[in-house]
Amino acid sequence: MIERQKKILQLLDMSGERLHRLLARLTRREDVVGDLLQELFIRLWNSKTFDNAEDPFAYAYRAAINLAFEWRRKQKARCQPLEENCPAASDSSSALGKMIQAEELEQVLNATSKLTDLARDVVVMRYIEQDSYEEIAQRLGKKPQYMRALCAKAMARLRELLASEKR
């Protein structure tokens, strides 16, 4: 247990900021990120399987993605975008533009939550965290080519999901 505690505190020091940023990007809610980060570390604290994780950061990273999408699923009320922190889109100078952009971002995140867990994680790592296929493969213990193929399929599925939502 003491080993686990050390490992978690080290993880918090080394990667807490990155995990915080990831949760913020996936929830787009400043007011919930802190709570989710606490929840994430408490889960790791109580997790026996975390002890055996070869790469604690990779484990926590996936757990954070899962937690954020779990939150999204449970969320009934619409998310309030972090407007002031979002970079402005070309047409987002107006209030309407901002609303449209926020809606678009929510749509793509909600569609991502409908992918399989693995595909969802790969999409987040590739397109939101902008990791290379090699990094993703290493983190997930799979082959880069497989990650590439999975990403392509996930993208096709996202197009379908977003198109059906549009109809």
């Binding site: 505690q5 505190l9 918090l12 900021e17 915080h20 940023r21 913020a24 990007r25 996936l26 787009r28 400043e30 990120v33 802190g34 980060l37 606490q38 994430l40 570390f41 408490i42 889960r43 790791l44 604290w45 109580n46 997790s47 026996k48 399987t49 975390f50 996936r62 757990a63 993605i65 937690l67 779990e70 972090l82 922190n85 979002c86 970079p87 889109a89 449209i100 952009q101 678009e104 971002l105 749509q107 793509v108 995140l109 399989t116 867990d117 693995l118 999409v123 397109y127 939101i128 965290e129 799979k142 082959k143 080519q145 497989y146 990650m147 193929a149 999975l150 197009r159 977003l162 549009k166």
Partner: protein
């Protein structure tokens, strides 16, 4: 709204990826986590404390709680309270997986060879009842085989993208009805065995509870362990593992590990997932009807009258079938091999046939002048399927006895 193409989706992701939260907010939130973890270390878990405080307020509950603690101390149990109170309802797991109409999962198989050499492949699996199932298999990151099983069309495909080849197999009615849904079969088998609870764990942020079975039926006599991890919130499996030394090739036992994970239970799978879409330049290398289809066709042919000698042989043909099915019922695979020379059942076939129940064995008949006899039988497999077919039996001149040769 702009057209939703790949470029547009990537643009939206890019917008999300550019988000950076203020360093003050991050520092504040990280500090809160540190405090919370410090509370954990000192044993003060606010949530738990609150629950215990509420429970201990009531006099009646206080007495009951005291009694539980005493019993727990005597029995050496560990009461952790709080979130550990709710757990997996194991009886509900099978019921829940049975209700699911479609699922996807990943499977990794790893076989170890001497000198630290390993053979591993991964597969993505799609299962959707009567719409079919599909397996995409990868080795070294490359797609090397795709399998489709389409019960509605009563056909199965095996496609080799590297060789640009494919095989097409026509399925019989009962083959089309047979489930090839390993996760559900595994769950049923594991939970029907004498399992040991492993307690709580966490897999990729999901709180799970596990069970394990040593030398499970799934290992078919080999040594090893099978584990099942179930989401405590949904009662649905999250991960299944099979680890042991298993007979793989040329009689050698190899350390082998199978892992099924990344389950998506009850997903919506578009019909297009089950369309093989074989490119025109792919070469058809095998096109065949499977054994059972042949025997079904034979059944439709008129039976012919038996000669007096054949009438004498009829009980022996029937007896071979009875012994063969009984061998499956008793999982006596040596006896099975003796009665069906040349047929080597794989692990999944043994799991499928092992423990079956014989419902009926009919009178052997012949349709032509060949040495083949057809013996009608009806069995109930352990996983519930009732199978009604004709088993093919022939007289083997070399060994001077009847042996089975098809139709199971």
């Amino acid at each position: 709204m702009s057209e939703i193409n790949e470029k547009e989706i990537k643009r939206r992701f890019e917008t999300i990826s550019k988000f950076e939260q203020g360093s003050e907010v991050t520092a504040r939130d990280l500090e809160k986590v540190r405090k919370r973890l410090a509370e954990q270390t000192s044993g003060q878990r606010p949530g738990e404390q609150k629950i215990w405080r509420i429970i201990m307020k009531s006099k009646i509950t206080k007495a009951a709680a005291a009694a539980v603690i005493i019993v727990a101390v005597i029995l050496g149990l560990n009461i952790t309270g709080g979130p550990d109170i709710a757990g997996v309802t194991w009886a509900e797991v099978i019921e829940k997986v049975e209700q699911i109409s479609a699922l996807t999962y990943d499977m990794t198989a790893e076989i170890s060879y001497p000198e630290n050499k390993k053979l591993s492949f991964q597969s993505e699996n799609y299962v959707a009842g009567e719409n079919g199932c599909r397996i995409d298999m990868y080795m070294n990151g490359e797609l090397f085989m795709q399998k489709y099983r389409l019960p509605k069309e009563k056909v199965a495909y095996r496609i080799g993208p590297k060789e640009k080849t494919y095989s097409r197999f026509v399925l019989s009615e009962s083959q089309a009805e047979t489930e090839s849904d390993f996760p559900r079969q595994w769950v049923k088998i594991i939970l029907s065995e004498d399992y040991t609870k492993l307690g709580r764990g966490n897999i990729n942020g999901i709180d799970v509870e596990g069970v394990e079975v040593h030398n499970s039926e799934l290992l078919e006599g080999d040594e090893g362990v099978v584990r099942l991890w179930v989401d405590i919130e949904t009662n649905l499996p999250v991960r299944m593992e099979l680890e042991g030394k298993m007979m793989m090739d040329a009689g050698a036992k190899r350390p082998t590990k199978f892992v099924m994970d990344d389950f998506q239970w009850d997903v919506e799978l578009d019909e297009s997932v089950f369309e093989p879409n074989i490119p025109e330049d792919y070469r058809l290398i095998i096109e065949e009807k499977l054994d059972e289809q042949k025997s079904t066709q034979v059944e439709q042919k008129p039976t012919r009258l038996l000669t007096d000698t054949e009438k004498d042989d009829q009980p022996m043909a029937k007896e071979v079938v009875r012994k063969l099915l009984q061998a499956c019922a008793n999982k006596n695979w040596d006896e099975f091999s003796d009665l069906w020379p040349g047929l080597s059942l794989n692990k999944m076939q043994k799991i499928y046939l092992g423990g079956l129940e014989i419902i009926q064995i009919g009178e052997p008949f012949k349709t032509d002048d060949s040495a083949t006899w057809y013996v009608p039988y009806q069995i109930k497999l352990k996983l519930g399927e009732v199978r009604k077919r004709n088993l093919r039996v022939r007289y083997d001149e070399t060994t001077k006895r009847f042996v089975a040769c098809g139709g199971l």
